[in-house]
Each structure stands twice: as C-alpha cells, then as structure tokens.
Symmetry: D2
Subunit: 341 residues, 4 copies
C-alpha cells in the first residue's frame, strides 16, 4: 500500500536528518539564540531579497497563523479571508480563540478577488454604524490556496495595492509555498511575495521538514516584543536549534526549491496521466495537489491499492478526491499509480 | 568552552535520532494518528501503571501548561501555584492569555506546602464574598521544582488528599520529571505520581528529546474534545510522528530512566566536588540542578572556561549561579569542571 | 423635529421612574440580592409559565449576548447564527472577544431556516475532519429579527426540534421581544418561547426601561456559578435594584405587554398610511420597524421635518430607510408623520 | 433596622432622579451621542482642569477596570497592583479574562509604596530572562483604597514620577473618589489627580448615582477606537443618556462634592463616637469607611439593630467589621447608631 494522501506523510528530507545528526552534540543556547537559527534567517532574507526583513521560526502552521493574526491586529480588528481560507474553516477557531473575528469574502477557486476585498472595505467605511462593527485590520490569503490554486502576479499586486491604500497588512499563508514557487504555472517569485506582502511564511512542515514555518516580516514590521508574544502563545521551543538546523539546511544550495520541484514534476506526470485516461478534473491546479472526480465504484477499487484523500461528495455516484505529491514522491510510486488508473 | 548552562543545550539522544532516520520514509498518517504515537502511549501507560490513562504528546512545556490549565479549568476558575511556579513567573502570562488567573501561595524551597493550600481553600470558601472572586479550580506543582527540589511521598500525598477533598485536580509539571524520578534523594515513583496526580506530564525536551512532553490524564479524565482544543491552541503538529517516534524510543528499554540517571550521577559528582572545595550551596538539591553562591571574582574567572547560568544576585560581592547536568553530560566534562574549581 | 429613528430615543416609561423614585431611599442589598429583583424574577417566571426557570437581570443587549454565548458554549464550540444576526455583524466582535466563532447560515428575511441549520449540522458531523473545526454548540436567533420579521410557531418548533435532536441549546435574542409578542401577525406566545428555547431574554432597553434585559434559562440550565461569570465579564451592577425595580414594574399588571402593544398599534397605523400613499415597502414586517424604499429627493424633503434611520442604499435614486415606533410613540406624532407623507 | 453596610444601599440622589424625570421624554440619540453626555463631559473636564482630557461614561466599576486595563495595555503586558487591589482579588478575574496578568506588590494599609514599584520595575528589567515574563505595562491604584486610606500628594507624585520615568501609564480607580477628595485628611485635589495620573475614573455608583463611572484620559490618550472597544467588551449602553443625565447633574453646582462631603461629615461623627466609647480602630481611615474590632458578643448584640459589613476574623473572640457612611446617610441614623454603641 502506498499513499498520495498528503504532503506530510514522510519524515524529513535526508539532508535535514543528516544535519540534525551532525550538529547534535554541539552545545547551543536555547530559544532560537543559536548560530543555526541565525544562519537560516540570513539565508532566508537573502532568498527573499529583503535586507530589512525579520525572520522567526515557528513549529506549526495553525500556530503561525494564530500568532501572526493575533499580534498584528489591534484587539478591535479582524482578519479578512475567503470563506475557504484555512483560518476560517480548518483551524478549530484558533484565531477567534485569541479574540479576533475572521471577516469573509467569497472565494474564486480558493482565491480572494481584489474587487471583493475592495468592496468589503468600501462598504465598511461607508456604513455609518461601522464603529459598532469589527474593523478590517489585515488580509489573509494562502498561496497555494487550500484548492491548490495560485495567484498571478497581477492578482497579488491588486490585493497588495488595496492593502496599502487602506494601510492594512497583507499576510500570506505559505504552508505549501515551495510548491507554489516551483509550479510551471506561476509568474510569482519569492522576491515578488516579499515585495508585495507585509508578512508571509515559508512552510517547512509540508516541504521537507519535520516541522517548522519561517515567518518573514518583510520590512522591520514585526510587532513589538514579538519574542515574548511567541512565548505567551505557547509557541516558543526551548531547543530552537531544531528549527534552525532544518531551515538552514533547506536554504543551503536551494534545497527547498529543488525538493519542491520534485513534487511539481511528479504532480505534472500524474495530472497528465489522469487527463489522458479520461478522468474528470474537479479544479484545475498547477501545484502538488490534484482534485479528481471519481466514480464511486472506481474509488473503492483504487482504494485497495493506494491511499488518497476524501475531499467532498460530488453526487450520488461520484466523489471528489485529492492526490498530493510531495518532496518525497518517487517516480516509482507515480508509475504504480498510473498503472492502476 | 563547555557548558553547564541548562539541560537543553544538546540535541537528542542518539537512539532518538537513529529512530527518526530509521522510520523516516514510512508513510504515516498525520496529527498523531500513527503507530509510533500509539506505541509510545501504550508504553507510557504501562510505565505509569495506569490502564485507563489517556496520553497526549505535545511539543513544548509552556504550551502544555497553557493547554492543560485552560482546558481543565472552568472559565471562572484559576490555578493555584506557588509564587515560584513556572506558570506564575516565567511563561510570559501564557495562562492568563487564556483567561485564567494564577492564585499564589508561598513557596518553601520551591515547593507548595499542604497547609498553605488548605488555608487558601478554607479561606476562600469561608469568605462570604467568594462569588466575586476567582474560584480555585486546580493545583499546579512542578516536580522537580524550579529550584531543583523534590516532593516527598508524604508531601505529595498530603497535597493529593486536599485536592480530592475539594474535588479539584492536581496537575504536576514534569518538565524535568526524569531527573526527579532517578534522584537518589526521592521516595516518589512514577506510579505514585500516576496514582496521586490527576494530570501530569513527562518532560522530553529536557530529558533527551528534541522536543515533546507526554501529558498523562491518569483516569480517563481528559477534557472532552481535547484533540480539538489542542488544534485550537495552535499546539497540534501535522507530523505527530516526530513526537511519537521520540517517546516510543524513550520508553523502550527504559531509555528515559537510564539517561536521566546519567544526569543524576554527574550532578552528584559535581555536588560533592563543590562541597569538598568549600563552595557555598544556595539551595540543597538532589536533582540535576546545583545552585552555588560564588564570589564575584571567582565567577568571572570561571566564566572564561565554562558556561553556567545566572540565577540571582546574592549580595554585593556574591552571585547565585546554576550548574545543570543532563542526559548528555560526560564524565570528561565533569572532570574539566572539577579541575577549574 | 420629531423622531422615528429607533425605539430607544426616550427614557423610561413613567411608571418605572415612579417606582425608582418611590423605592429610592429603601436600603437594599447590592448585586441583585434585593426584594425587587426577587419579585421581578418571580413575575417573569410566572409570565413564562416556567416554574424551574432561572432569571438573571443584565444591563445591556450585547452584554447579554456575549455573556450567554460565552458561558453556555464549551471553549471549543461556536454559535450558529444567520449572516444578519446581531452577534455576527453589529456587536464589534463581542462574541469572538470571548474566544468563540460565530458559524453562519444564510438568512431568509432575517430568519434562520431549519433546513439550513440541519444541513450545517449534518455536514459538520459527516466531515471526517470535523475534529479540526469549531463545533456547532448552540443556535442563536433573534425574535423579532434584525429585519423586524417574526418566526411562526411552526418555524420555531422546527428549529427547536433540531436543537434537541443534536443536544445543543436554542438561544433567542429578545431585545425587542415585546414587539414580537404583541404583533398582530404572530402565533408565538411567551410560553411557547419558554417551552421551545433553552435560553432567551426579554428586552427592556428597547421596550420601556432605561436599561436591562431579563435572561431566562428555561429549565434550571444556567451555567454553574453564573453569578461569578457575570462579575468576570464586567456585567454585574452594584445597585442591582436598578434592574429589579424596572422589571418588577414592567411585569406588574402586564405593563410590558401593554406598552409594547402601543408600539404595534402605532406601527400598524404608519404601515397602513405608507401603503395607502403608495410607498414601496422594502421588507414586509409585522412589528414596530417599517422599512421603506424612498426616492432620494423625497427622503431629503422628509428629513427636514422628521428623523428616521438610514438602512441601506437601494439604487442610485432610492434609499431604504427605517421608521421605528416604540412604547412612547404618540398618536399625535403618527398624525404629524402621515401629514408629511 | 437600618444599615451602614455599604455606600450603595440607597438609589440615587433625588436631584438625579428629578433630572431623569425632567428629561425623560426628550428624544435623544443613543450610545452617548446626546447633549447630556456632552455637557457632563465638558463639566468634568472643567472640574479636572484638563482641556485635552477625553471623558467616557461607563456603567460599572469592574467593567471600567476591565475595559481600561485591557485597552491600555499591550497584549504582552500586565498591570501592577497591590495585593489588596480590587482588580487583584475582588473582580472574579475580570482582568485575566481579557488576557492580562496582574503583577503584585505588597500593600501598606492598602497603598502602593513607590519603592516597591521601583523595585519591581528595576528587578524586571535587570533580569536577563525578562523577555520570558509579563511586561509591567501600567500601574493600578485605588484612591481611596480598598481599606479606606488615601495617598498623600507626595506619595502620589512619587508613583507618578516613576511611571513617567518608565513610560507606563498610572491608572487610578476612583470608585469612591468623591469621599477621598472631600476627606479632611487629604492634600490631594481633583486637579492634582488629573495632572499626576494618565487615566482615572470618578465613581458615580457609590457617590449618589444609580450607576456610572466617568473615565478620564487626561491628555488625549484614550486608546484608538475606544468606542468600538467599549462595544466589544459589552459595555456600551444604548441609552447613554442614563449616564449623561446623572453625571451632568452630579457636576452641576458641585453636587458631587457636596454629597460626598455629607458622607465624610457623618463618618467623622461616627469615628469620633467609636473612639470616645473606647472601640478599637482596626485601620485608621479618613474617608467614609470605618473599620472596627468588635468583641463577638457585642457584634451579635449590635447586629440586632443595625447592619454593617463583616470584614475579617480578628481572633477567636473578636471580629473586624466595617461601617460605611454615604451621600445618603442622615444625622438621625448616626444618632441612632451612637446610642447603640
């Protein structure tokens, strides 16, 4: 039995484990004050082309979203997200737990439309009663989105422009950022993101690390005493080296990009095979997630040999399922899958 | 330069790294639903002698304290702690962040006295106005304490008895539990703790793991939907295997206890050397932390060759410092230290 | 200039002020432990036909919603509301401030449809990932709704049935309850509400009181230590008599119902006049709020002589406005308005 | 039976009720946007000698403390209070509910000592680990204190100086401010308070109002969007006039000060009588609260004829009790009390 269920079914890229083993007995200061964290941060800043960025390494994605949204917002503000945004539906209310509302706009294949955003902001400020309402205080998007889709440079620029006009930060959840950057269907680079967003994170957990997300505040705009806020949110690791060593490895010799590229290559092969064999694509994606409409009988048959993810019911006889490739997916596994189709 | 600054200056015990490498390419489900988590939990339950215990693996100590205190308490309740309790002074208000007050009693070498606890509870319920006050809803203790001291079985039993009389849970922070259990000066076993406490955790971060604390609810008393609360608090790791593999290794062949014993052996050697050479002991401890009053000039001299922790000012000419051994401390390092004294 | 802007433009019904004056120098215990609070609660229980109800008097509506939602929900639960529910859009995030998400369903003229509710609950529990999501923990409806509409007995029963099936409480925001109960277009009585809801409140602020809402837990289901939670939320008045005397007066000789009836009579006259004169009704209501589509020029003209509320833009030449009658509206004022139409 | 239990046993000063009756049928805008609120605020600013003060009217004391502390602090900060401060012990954790810790210093007859404050701040910033701790973000004092004592001008100045040195605001809880200002034993004026504090409030509930506290931000330092925060905290009254009319009346012709003076005059008579008759004074006060050590038999005897407050057990045969006068206390009542002594 092999699995395309998600991009976090394996451990870490072997070079990361090597680095953990190699550095294991060095005695290092705790809480992220070690040379590997420092080095990782420098390399990330360089990759982003941001001299005045501030980088923080956090263990998990929901944790990062909660921490960033809560500390960047004023207490009377909420975060704008699409209805399909991860913070809106799939984080058990982690944002609301910190006292903030998620303000929603419709999604378009998982993406936020600049017109919807503009409309929300204009309507809010035009309402005489808006002092009785939650202030829109930041914009949350994910790239790739929860549907595996990507913003174009034009779309991202349009969102960024509106945010700057209204003086609210643009925050990008990059839990799968690597797969977005290495997609053959994107015109958005890491430097574009660093230029257009006020905060974003580079996902490690789903792109080759055991755990870890690198949050980038792109222009010295980290909230005051952010370190203390990390601790207060329960998000500070005593052995910060665990994150430092991993990100230092990922940003050495472009490892992060190379392993993300592997997932894209494998997904492209799988996508082509699905299409060639006449499978119905549910949402057209260009990243490592593929959404297929399966006839239920076919689904049951496939399930005997390969794991994949349930997405949603399509109709009484069909189901939407997800196949995800990852940094660890082998050509051999793709071959085996294609044979089953 | 070598360091006795803390017990989290190294990475992980080599057997843990071996296990991470060995299992790395197994495809496992996320969020803790994997066989290593299952196995670790079973082994921990067995070690505790608790068939009906529920075990959860959490990444960090402050995170665990925040999560347990918040979910175990009713919203109108607070946690009773000594003034030196970690949640009271050194977690950046992580407990209050979740809406709960820490109610304090004096400490006695870091420990809570049963009489102080009883007095707080009696005084609260005797006060006609107690409905205007925070209800004492649980007791938080650490073992070893922040001062490296240990409860005796009698002391722990007395606290447990009061908690049961008042029907409030007793929660033990065991961030350094291994060092407490393997101390030559303790009469408290893991099974005693499982019997006397309602919740406790077995610290991994400071006892050989890269990260991780194993929370034990000793009698099927985990709060309802605790999994969702973990997610809501931002504390759920996608790759739960990272914690599962580590604790499974630590609880195989008594590794946890053996490596904790190493720290105790080294600390006992160091303690004897300090005493023999006439150093003033600040607090008499029996675990892996040693608190010494150093003449300031001597402190500066030592600092050139070895790292240790600043604890507090003693007087104008003396300082209290902390030397901590760990699972990783070698006889060679102890020899080098003793030569310097 | 006279006003139909809202139902809280005047002070209190004169009988309430009389009672405050009459009882002013009696020395009474604080925090609601006085005979007027006791008497008010007994009268409310009787009016509701609920022997085992628990009644609490709270100063304001948003405060009541915040307090009830927060204390009734478990921390990992959210409240289901329509998108137009007051807690969702017009309370500055007071519910989220306490850590809970508002889960929305579409509205139908301001009302929640039982099928939408059922669908949300079924979908939630059918989703394999629902442990990563906010649990639906209660249902919030308003009656009259924010649009001045009313649930029929069948509609309310359907919602109640679903809540009982899923074992989640049904909470009714009755900020304008009197106007709903005295409407000529309702078949729902106070006793029906007390039977079908688990919690509801009887609005005082908008129905003749200076301030105050009477929360009814209909079957001894007030959260444990609710008094302390009131204090913790900052919602406890030292001079509880202020609320007790007011509600005792409102529930003596059916004053609450009589003065609500006045608002309905006046609104019915106004509604008839608007229709007769050919004004376009935006939403058909049967309570004290009337929504009219005005040509913008006419709106400007009317504004010179009478105040009313802006509701929303209709099109480039028309605006939706609201006229609200109240317990204090006189026939004279209605005559003057009709002359202006 | 008559009562000296507290200063909130009666309703409101008759002039306040008169004003509520007189203005009752005026149609006024809600939420504090009415002429009486405006007028009250202007009069308060004038009384404080603060042209650039911002005044907000809030219904209750705990509510005010919660609101001010939460909105003035940064999320990672706590409020410094004495161990006897109202927010620390008697508000059911209302401050912690909003996520903030109360940091305590010892009390001296209920007062905070400038040296203790300085020491807390110095120690905090001298601690290398203070980034792991709650930042001291404001100072909370009450005047009169919970023990009925008063700061001298020198003491208040010393606290203010330290706050300004550390750039943290000084907040004074003035729930009983009138009684402090009119005491014969004070050298602190309202203008001194407005000059030395950054925020304070003028208590109405305990000084002649039905409810209401007037918060003064003394130099345009109200938190941004404070109105929205009031709503978010559930503290916004729809009929803001209720507070406006009351404070407008209290600050017309010095009513607030005159009625506070009455309480002081009566308390001074009572204090003299207690002393003359040889009663033991527990704490020497100069405001409207008198703390007496009663022999238990005498206490039981007195209780038959007059109500007073239990404070605490003194020893097995004696009890500390509190007698409070108020704006409403008559000479007749004092005569009756003296006869009983």
């Amino acid at each position: 039995m092999f699995s395309f269920e998600s991009d976090y079914t394996e451990g870490a890229h072997p070079l990361i484990l090597d680095a953990l083993v190699r550095t294991n007995f060095e005695q290092l200061s705790g809480y992220g004050f070690d040379k590997y964290c420092d080095s990782a941060k420098e390399k990330i800043k360089k990759a982003c082309g941001c001299d005045d960025a501030q980088v923080f390494l956090i263990a998990g994605g929901t944790q990062t979203n909660q921490l960033v949204v809560d500390t960047v917002l004023q207490p009377y503000e909420g975060a704008i997200s699409t209805t399909t945004g991860h913070i809106e539906g799939h984080e058990a209310g982690a944002v609301e737990f910190t006292g903030h509302k998620v303000l929603t706009v419709p999604h378009h294949l998982g993406k936020m439309d600049a017109n919807d955003l503009k409309n929300l902001l204009e309507t809010f400020y035009a309402d005489d009663n808006h002092d009785h309402m939650v202030f829109p205080g930041m914009v949350y998007i994910s790239h790739p989105t929860e549907y595996g889709t990507l913003y174009t440079l034009d779309e991202l620029t349009a969102l960024s422009d509106i945010c700057r006009q209204y003086e609210i930060p643009l925050f990008m959840d990059g839990a799968r950022l690597g797969y977005g950057l290495m997609s053959n269907g994107t015109d958005v680079t890491l430097k574009d993101i660093a230029r257009l967003c006020d905060i974003f994170y580079i996902g490690g957990t789903k792109v080759g690390a055991l755990c870890g997300e690198a949050v980038v505040f792109t222009h010295n705009n980290a909230p005051k005493h952010f370190f203390t806020s990390i601790k207060q949110h329960g998000a500070l690791l005593a052995k910060g080296r665990l994150l430092g060593v991993q990100f230092d490895t990922l940003f050495t010799d472009d490892l992060y990009f190379k392993i993300a590229k592997n997932a894209i290559d494998k997904a492209d092969r799988m996508r082509a095979a699905f299409k060639e064999k006449g499978y119905k694509i549910f949402i057209e994606t260009v990243t490592n997630q593929i959404f297929i409409v399966l006839e239920n009988e076919k689904m049951q048959e496939l399930k005997k040999s390969v794991s994949f993810g349930f997405w949603e019911k399509y109709d009484d006889n069909h189901t939407v399922v997800r196949f995800a490739s990852s940094w660890a997916t082998t050509d051999d596994a793709v071959d085996k899958l294609i044979k089953l189709l």
